[in-house]
Structures are given as structure tokens and as C-alpha cells.
């Protein structure tokens, strides 16, 4: 049955991706009217150019034909033309994707490590003062909007004790590629990444804690304890491995959240990624950029979900057998 599992899994991935692209078409091309109407609403519109625009966006075709054209364009990486930058959307997205990957990737790695570690600390002293402190601190940080946390960090680090850069990705006037340049980008990365870690670590610490507390009452933990294995080794080597499974699932859901966080954090810190692009696109009603950015975010989340499913299966032999 092994082969059939992968066939089903890949078919479902393809179906979800197809549904997402179609949903995007529905959202931007059917529900609010057509791109020319959107253009009219966005204020980048010249009445004389209407006929030309209708032809350009191929609106003289039926909705079904438009849908087919849209699918074909998307499949070939043609994501439309920005109203504001007057360039293909793919050119506009260019470096922004890499910058967001750098920010979100760094933040995610630290978030998972810090979150899991805090969860282990809380669970191994369950119901103690440490446990309560970790849980309440996590929840409090989780309750802060990402942009508000960022504003506080800017206030503290940028206004009171000028230690770290609070805006942009690099200082001007540095030759690119050198060690100084890399360190400069790293310094700019500190505050936005810290913001995302502070807000999102709770997600992992709370899940790790609860999952580990549930695991620590399993029979094999009792057996290990009876054999004289130290408490530390039981937590880190025996229980955590099993308790981590829900974390794999949580990571997939987290990606959807962190992308929402990235929009806010990049706006606050003027980090030139997809989030800032979305903020500017919203402000200037640059719908093609907004449309492409949303599509890329959605695909990123779907692919991560798929990867986490696959990882779960590799990690947990019980799932494979059933």
C-alpha cells in the first residue's frame, strides 16, 4: 500500500494547489468585478485607455476563457503587471522573496528552539512556579500584536539606547558581498527577528509543555524510571521524541501565522520583503502585486503543510503501519 499512499498524497497536494489558484481567480477577477473595474477603483485609471485595457486584460473573452488564460499565465510564472511600479509583478517580487525568507527562516529556527526548550523546562517541573511563569509569560507575549511588540522594541533599542538599527535591511554605502556587509545585514535582522520570536515562541512552548506532560505519564516512562534512568534523560531522550510529534503539525499551522506576522513586522521595521510589499500594495491599491503575494504566501503554507505531513510519517512508524 506504500505506493498508493504517495499517489494519494501528491494528488491531494495538486488538487489543493489548483483550488488555491482558482480561489485567487475568484477573489480578484470575479467577485469584485474585473481588473479594469479594480483599476478604476484604485485611481490608476484613465477613461480613454479603457478599451485598450479591456483588450490588454483580455476581458473581451468569456469568464471561462479568462479563467483558462489566467491558469495558463500563472502556470508559466506570468503574474501580471504592477499598476504602481509599471513592471511585471515577478520583477517587483524579485528580491523581496529572498528578504522575507531570510527574516522568517531565521525567526522560525530560533522560535522552535526557544519554544521547545521553554516547554520542556515548564513540563519537567509541571505545576511549579517555573511552569506557571513560563505559561503566563508565553500567553502574555502571544497576546501582543506583532506590530506592537515591534514598536516597543524600536522604542527601547532605537530611541532610548541606540544599540541596533531599527529600519531597513542594510546601511547605505557598504560594498556588497564583503564580511562587513553580511554583518550589517545581520545587525538589521536582530530586532525584526526578535519580534517574531517573542510573539510566536508561546505557540511552541505551550504545545510542547502540554504534549510532554501527557507523555510523561505513559507506561514506558514509568518503566524507564523503574530501571533507574535519570529524570533528565527520561525527559530529553525518551519522552521528548514522542512529545515532539504535535510540534511537527504545529509548525505547519505556525507558518500561516508567521507570514501574517511578517507583514506587520516588515512594515514596522521597513524590512524590504513581501510583507512590506503587501503593505505598500494595500496602501496604493496595487492589486496585481497583492494578488501575486497572496498566491505565493498560500502556496508556501500548502507546501509546508505537505512537508510536515511527510515528516510526521517518517518520524512516527505507527502512522506508517496503519
Amino acid at each position: 500500500m506504500r505506493g498508493s499512499y504517495w499517489v494519494r498524497k501528491l494528488a491531494s497536494l495538486a488538487a489543493t494547489l489548483y483550488a488555491t489558484v482558482s480561489f485567487n481567480f475568484l477573489l480578484f477577477h470575479v467577485l469584485p468585478g474585473n481588473p479594469v473595474q479594480l483599476l478604476a477603483r484604485s485611481g490608476h485609471y484613465d477613461a480613454a485607455a479603457r478599451r485598450q485595457l479591456v483588450a490588454l486584460f483580455e476581458l473581451n473573452h468569456s469568464l471561462l476563457d479568462q479563467y483558462v488564460i489566467y491558469l495558463n499565465n500563472t502556470l508559466h510564472g506570468n503574474l501580471g503587471f504592477s499598476y504602481v511600479y509599471r513592471e511585471p509583478v515577478t520583477t517587483v517580487l524579485g528580491s523581496a522573496i529572498g528578504n522575507t525568507l531570510l527574516l522568517v527562516g531565521t525567526a522560525t529556527f530560533i522560535t522552535v528552539v526557544v519554544g521547545v526548550w521553554l516547554g520542556v523546562v515548564a513540563a519537567s517541573r509541571a505545576n511549579s512556579l517555573t511552569d506557571a511563569t513560563v505559561s503566563v509569560t508565553s500567553l502574555s507575549l502571544w497576546s501582543m500584536p506583532d506590530f506592537f511588540t515591534g514598536m516597543i522594541l524600536i522604542f527601547v533599542c532605537g530611541v532610548w539606547i541606540h544599540v541596533l538599527p531599527i529600519s531597513g535591511i542594510e546601511s547605505s554605502g557598504l560594498a556588497s558581498g564583503g564580511l562587513a556587509h553580511v554583518l550589517d545585514i545581520a545587525r538589521h535582522l536582530v530586532l525584526p527577528a526578535t519580534t517574531l520570536v517573542l510573539v510566536n515562541a508561546a505557540e511552541f512552548s505551550l504545545i510542547t509543555r502540554n504534549s510532554l506532560v501527557d507523555t510523561l505519564v505513559e507506561d514506558y516512562v514509568l518503566t524507564a524510571r523503574a530501571k533507574g534512568v535519570s529524570r533528565r534523560a527520561i525527559v530529553w531522550r525518551h519522552a521528548l521524541r514522542n512529545a515532539l510529534l504535535p510540534i511537527v503539525t504545529a509548525t505547519a499551522l505556525y507558518v500561516g501565522m508567521v507570514l501574517g506576522g511578517a507583514i506587520q513586522v516588515e512594515t514596522v521595521f521597513s524590512w524590504p520583503g513581501m510583507g512590506l510589499l503587501i503593505y505598500n500594495a494595500v496602501e496604493q491599491r496595487d492589486y496585481p502585486v497583492l494578488e501575486a503575494s497572496f498566491l505565493i504566501f498560500a502556496i508556501a503554507v500548502i507546501v509546508t503543510n505537505f512537508a510536515s505531513d511527510v515528516l510526521y510519517r517518517l518520524l512516527d512508524p505507527r502512522v506508517r503501519r496503519t
Binding site: F147, F148, F155, V159, Y287, L290
Partner: protein
Amino acid sequence: MSVLDDDVARRPGVWRDLWRDRMGRSGLIMMVAVLFVVLVGPMIFPFQSQSFGTSSASILQPPSAAHWFGTTELGQDVFRQFLLGGRISLYVGVFATVIAIVLGAGLGLVSGYYAGWRDAVLMRITDFFLVLPTLPLIIVLAALFGQSIVITSLVIGLTSWPQTARIIRSQVLSLRERALVLRVRSLGASNYRIMARHILPNVAPLIFANLVLVLSGAILAQAALAFLGLGDPVQVSWGTMLHNAFNAGAMSTGAWWYILTPGAGIVVMVLAFSLIGHSLDRVLNPLRRSQR
């Protein structure tokens, strides 16, 4: 186990346990405090100074006797905006949550109770919306369809239901096989009656636990939308205040009162509901309950 043991809702302990739990009690107290400030506050402190400042000297002033929480970049009283802004944040949060819970619990109930092909179809749709990144979707919808508080509430409500649907469905799936339901069905009760009278009361605590978590998420989503400039320009919420403060350069000019006041409002409101939610989760989970 007798038939009546199935009825979680009839167990009076849930509310008592919530009050006994330290997290739950802090959450309840914070919730009452926030509701008092937001709903009663504007009546107790009827500030006249809704007008704009008349001179540049009244702009971004620190807290004083006349302006307890300082003034805005237009010379307005921050405390007054804070009291009124909380209502908008709460209004959108509650409105959106009602939509999300009715949709989520309804779909979960139908899906879990009927199982079979209805379940398969509904859960495919739910899973699709579950993977879409929520906040980016909300931003896109707000940018396309408008930013009045009613549209904001609709947009947040219509995107926040999938998780609830999933949770309620799995609970209903197990409930429908229980002795109580089988017995009532054999007595000839209609599907509608079984769902309304026997299943719904049993998932009610779970729906409530989910409701408070959806509520805190909805308040955060509204704040983010308003901060990104997609708030209602007329109805100033806490998120809008932070948007204005950010654009007015409140951080570089050191106007901490303009940032901390609305920010603290959001954090306390969201924290109150998430504390209650997490506490309920603990109280309702019998496995973890026994270990306390």
C-alpha cells in the same frame, strides 16, 4: 458509567473549576475590568475635549492634569480616544466571533453528526480554508471589499471558523456513538432534536472554550488590519490609534503615552480571553485534570 454521565454540560464543576484555576480566575477578573472600562468608562469620564488642539503647543503633549494620557498628533485627548476606541475593538471582535462560531460549530455539528459524504465534502472545504494563511487573506479581503467596521467584522468572521469546525466535528463524532444518543434515537427522536437537545448541550463547553480563543484572535486581527491602514477611518479603534501614532512618528519623538495606552488596551483585552480559553481547555481535559 451511567447514561447521564455523558452529559458534560450538566456537570456544575466546569465554572467552579474555572474560578479555582489561577489562570482562569485572573482571566475572568481582567475580562470584567476591561468590559467595565470599555462599556462604562465613556459614561463616567465624559471628556469635552473631542475637538482638535488649537495651537501647536497642544500637539503630542505628555500626560498632565488636563490630559491624563497626553494628547495625539492632532492635539486630541488620548484617554478619551482610548475609552471610545475599546468599544470599536470589542464590537468587531464580538461580531466576527459570533459569525465564526455559528459557522464553525454549525458545520462541525452537521459534519460530525451525519458523517458519510456530507462529512467528507464539508471537511475538504474546511481543510482548504484551514491551510490558507488567515491574516494575509483577511488583508486581501479588506483591501478588495472595504474597511468599514461591519465589513471588517464579516471578513474576520468568515475566515476564522475552520479550526472550530474541526474541533467540534471530532467531539460530535464520538458523541453520536454514545449510549445516550443511541437510546434517544431508538425512541424515535428526530435528527434535529437529537442535535439540538442532546449533542449541542454536550459540546457547549467546548464551543465556549473555542469562542474565547477565536475572540482573542479576532481582536488581534482587527488591530493588525487597522494598524496596516485598513481600519474604519471614522470609527477609531485601538489599532487605528497605533496606526496614527506610528505614522505621526510617535516613536522617534518619544511619545510613549500615545503608543502604550492603546497597545496595553489590546494586550489586556486579548490576554483576558486567552487566559480563560487556556484555563477552560485544562478544566475540560479530563486527562490533565486528574494530574493537577
